[in-house]
């Protein structure tokens, strides 16, 4: 690893934080409505961030091309978000405000996010709810007809809006519908089953992308004035995660290799309430909404290796460990705290279930208190899903849960305009790093994706575009395009030419095991160093022994996965390197060397209150570390305490 002191230009506005966004919007150069159609923008991904950005930029009059590897914009993994979306509406009158949402998010992120970005996120949160409601998102309502709120981990106010357990679905369908409207209006061109495999650069800026048509295998260049990546996170580096099977880091990683810095790759979130794996063939883990923790109580047997059925264990032989350790927040502590506590219980051999790989989440007292009907109304669909997967009835037998990789706070480094270090290349939503620091609070991912897409990028992109008025996008006949097309073609053919013995999933599973063991819930120097070596070895093995059948000129799902896993094998190493560099514990990054006596994370604000932004230096490691110092003027640095 090498370090430099070049300052990253975060473009944070001057003045009091509450005026930053207004000042910035006023100072940002505008593109006049008649000129907008002269600009071409490429958007990759149609999740909350991508679809909302495409729809809004289309409404404004830009010429937008949007690409997704799915068959429809409605499939993006945002659709799986269950619990809800935060906003500072303060409808329940419990003392919420923009500042409190901002404060909670910065604190919940363990002081590793950028204050100014987070404040803006809190500011626009209310507009998101207005926008979604106007689009017809059926949020839950009170009997009086007004919107209902519920509470969520990491907050002491009720600020979460929800649509049963399908909030992500409903918000994504809202954005998808807005996008469909623009497709019909002709402002947005939509490309389905089209995967972005590289960014094209000219004179140091992004001028287009290279796309593979997943049905015909055709590899084509596409040029634009600006490229927006809204391609989600990289949790699938762990193989078993709550992410959808196709979630991948390829777009972000390819952009990184072309010059976009990658920030805080080691900040990953392991979500506490997932259904434990049931066997070795498991292909993914299923998340149960965190909202379950509102009414469910988490416990393990008091003594280790207790094989009794849960309902046979008397009350006084149960350890409600979160309520015991964190009386103030109880079962509603932030995700990182809840996950680590569960891990400790398993370390003490108190795990439950056939494979001893879970803890109980018990609804019996809530059912006694509120009645089965109320619980069914709140969580009915989640309970059904649990029963389908485990064949156990959570109304009578406590659920079993265990942490699983879920979200990545790290991502492409972006400035206040959401532009990466590559001019003309933007990153939105989970693909960027800016808002959640070292730990994301529940119901904040939907908020961030939509904030970036609906309310941030439509303003900030004008600043860059106005420089290119009356210039055409670089022609796809330009050699810069044919070079990248050739590189992509070569790489695709290379996968097919290896002709080894092992399948792509086999390598992916092996990588995942390394990652969860050494770069998972708890990390230490030795393990991380070993991980780096092991990842390198798997990568070499991958390029020597991969077996991909079929051809590149038709739908070939193994070939698609090969490209994604090849990139995971590179990003995995960077995650380990970043985790090694960060000699502190914060949020989702827990270094065993850095903990308090009672096992809590110990941050080192003196030395590590910075964003670690990594620059790609070619195939030969090490990469270069750039630091963006973080200043906390409005939320005083403090040790998080949820006791």
């Amino acid at each position: 690893m090498t370090e430099t002191n070049t300052t990253l230009q975060a473009r944070i506005p001057e003045g009091p934080i509450k005026d930053h966004w207004d000042t910035h919007k006023f100072k940002t150069r505008l593109v006049n409505p008649a000129n907008k159609r002269k600009y071409k923008i490429i958007i990759i991904g149609t999740g909350l961030a991508g679809a909302s950005a495409a729809a809004t930029l289309g409404e404004l009059g830009y010429e937008v091309d949007v690409f997704t590897f799915h068959d429809s914009a409605r499939r993006a993994h945002s659709i799986s978000a269950q619990g809800g979306i935060n906003a500072a509406k303060n409808y329940p009158n419990d003392g919420d405000s923009i500042f409190r949402l901002f404060y909670d998010t910065v604190k919940g992120g363990d002081f590793r996010s950028r204050e100014s970005n987070v404040y803006r996120l809190a500011q626009v949160s209310n507009e998101i709810i207005d926008q979604a409601t106007a689009q017809g998102v059926p949020f839950a309502r009170e009997y009086g007809g007004l919107l209902d709120n519920r509470s969520f981990g990491g907050a002491q106010v009720s600020r979460t809006f929800y649509s049963r357990g399908q909030t992500g679905q409903q918000l994504l369908l809202g954005a998808y519908q807005a996008l469909a409207r623009q497709i019909e209006a002709g402002t947005v061109k939509f490309h389905s089953r089209a995967e972005m495999l590289d960014v094209v650069m000219k004179d140091g800026r992004a001028v287009g992308v290279v796309i593979r048509d997943l049905i015909t295998g055709e590899i084509t260049p596409h040029s634009a004035h600006a490229v927006v990546l809204a391609t989600g996170g990289y949790s699938n580096v762990y193989f078993l995660s709550t992410n959808a099977m196709a979630c991948n880091a390829t777009a972000a990683w390819r952009a990184h290799r072309r010059g976009a810095y990658f920030a805080n790759p080691c900040f990953t979130q392991i979500h506490p309430t997932c259904i434990p794996a049931s066997d070795d063939f498991q292909s993914k883990l299923t998340l149960m909404s965190e909202s379950l923790r509102n009414d469910g109580r988490i416990w393990v047997p008091l003594r280790a290796d207790d094989d009794r059925a849960p309902n046979d264990i008397p009350e006084d032989e149960r350890d409600y460990y979160l309520e015991r350790q964190y009386p103030a927040f109880g079962n509603l502590v932030p995700r990182d705290v809840a996950s680590r506590s569960a891990m400790r219980m398993l370390d003490e051999n108190k795990g439950v279930g056939p494979l001893k790989n879970g803890v109980y989440l018990d609804f019996s007292s809530a059912i006694d208190r509120l009645g089965k009907a109320r619980i069914e109304e709140r969580y009915g669909n989640l309970f059904e899903m649990y029963e389908r997967i485990t064949d156990e009835d959570p109304y009578t037998v406590p659920m079993r849960i265990y942490p699983a990789p879920h979200y990545t706070m790290g991502g492409l480094w972006v400035d206040y305009n959401l532009m990466t270090t590559v001019p003309g290349l933007y990153a939105l939503g989970e693909a960027n790093f800016s808002d959640h620091g070292a730990n994301r609070l529940g119901a904040s991912a939907l908020m961030q994706g939509l904030a970036d897409g609906y309310f941030v990028i439509p303003y900030t992109i004008g600043e860059y575009l106005s420089d290119w008025l009356n210039t055409d996008p670089v022609s796809t006949d330009d050699p810069v395009f044919s070079e990248v097309v050739d590189e992509v073609n070569t790489r695709t053919e290379r996968f097919l030419a290896i002709d080894g013995q092992r399948s792509v999933d086999d390598f992916h599973r092996e990588l995942g095991k390394i990652m969860i063991e050494h770069v998972g819930l708890a990390r230490d120097r030795e393990g991380l160093q070993r991980a780096v070596q092991e990842i390198k070895a798997v990568r070499e093995e991958f390029w020597r022994d991969l077996k991909i059948l079929g051809t590149s000129d038709s739908l070939n799902q193994s070939l698609e996965r090969a490209g994604r896993v090849a990139d995971f094998l590179e990003i995995a190493e960077l995650m380990a390197v970043d985790a090694l560099n960060r000699e502190e514990s914060c949020g989702g990054h827990f270094r065993l060397e850095h903990q308090t006596e009672d096992g809590e994370a110990r941050r080192d604000d003196e030395n590590y209150a910075y964003v670690a932004a990594w620059e790609w230096k070619g195939e030969n490691w090490p990469q270069t570390l750039h630091k963006e110092p973080l200043k906390f003027e409005y939320v005083p640095l403090s040790q998080r305490s949820y006791k």
Binding site: I183, E184, A185, G186, K189, F190, H191, S192, R193, A194, D213, I215
Partner: protein, 248 residues
């Protein structure tokens, strides 16, 4: 795959939608089928009630069969205000139109559905969970009913298919016709097909015209069952009565 703005813009509103749009749309055709279906159901009720007069025997005043008087009354509907038989003619034209629209719509929908289904067929036997025998055989039961209606008209209205036919002697014609075992069997088989047709149709029409309320939805099925049963039992009673000699 790339999507751009669709090339054609529909003329979606106004009078053109009325003539071209609505009635050529599948939902519009289903509306027509439901409305003509209601008309045909009402006709079935009237027809059955009229025919049950065969059980009333002979009118003591005139000495004529009640059912013959009933048919005469149909011909003289409108009294001296209109030419004899003209109201009945209008009814018959209306009835024929309903048949033509009902069948025409069914043919049009069938063609579209076969096209939408394409050549691919499932290899495994489909496990129909909601569709019932009646709903899946509407085309077949409808065809049987149509063939029967054609015969029925030729037999008892026009007399082509009945060697003993005497114009106006309804009672004798019915007895003569249904005394032939083949005819009686065909009559009964067609009525069973009709009952199946009604079992689905009298339920389905509510769905097609959008009369829906979760509170009353279960009543739609009871309605369809009772309607089908009423028509079936009523119609079957006549050949049975003739066979058993109760009516002769």
């Amino acid at each position: 795959m790339t999507t751009t703005k669709r090339a054609h813009v529909h003329d979606r509103y106004g009078w053109r939608a009325w003539l071209g749009g609505f009635f050529s749309s599948s939902i519009g055709l289903k509306w027509l089928m439901a409305l003509t279906g209601i008309g045909l159901l009402l006709y079935l009720v009237a027809h059955l009630i009229g025919n049950l007069k065969i059980f009333f025997g002979v009118d003591p005043v005139t000495g004529a069969y009640e059912i013959d008087l009933y048919s005469e009354a149909l011909r003289t509907l409108g009294g001296h205000l209109v030419p004899k038989g003209s109201v009945l003619l209008l009814f018959r034209i209306g009835l024929s139109l309903m048949f033509i629209i009902h069948i025409g719509s069914a043919v049009a929908l069938t063609r579209r559905n076969l096209a939408a289904r394409g050549k691919g067929r499932y290899d495994a036997t489909r496990h129909y969970a909601a569709a019932n025998y009646a709903s899946r055989t509407m085309r077949m039961s409808g065809t049987i009913v149509l063939l029967f209606v054609l015969f029925h008209v030729a037999d008892l209205t026009l007399g082509y298919a009945n060697p003993d036919f005497v114009y106006g002697a309804v009672h004798d014609n019915m007895v003569a016709s249904l005394s032939r075992p083949i005819v009686a069997l065909f009559y009964m088989a067609a009525n069973v097909a009709l009952a199946f047709h009604i079992y689905h149709g009298a339920w389905s029409l509510f769905q097609s015209i959008g009369t829906v309320n979760p509170k009353y939805n279960s009543l739609r099925r009871y309605f369809a069952v009772s309607f089908a049963a009423f028509i079936l039992l009523g119609n079957l009673s006549i050949p049975l009565a003739i066979w058993t000699g109760w009516v002769s």
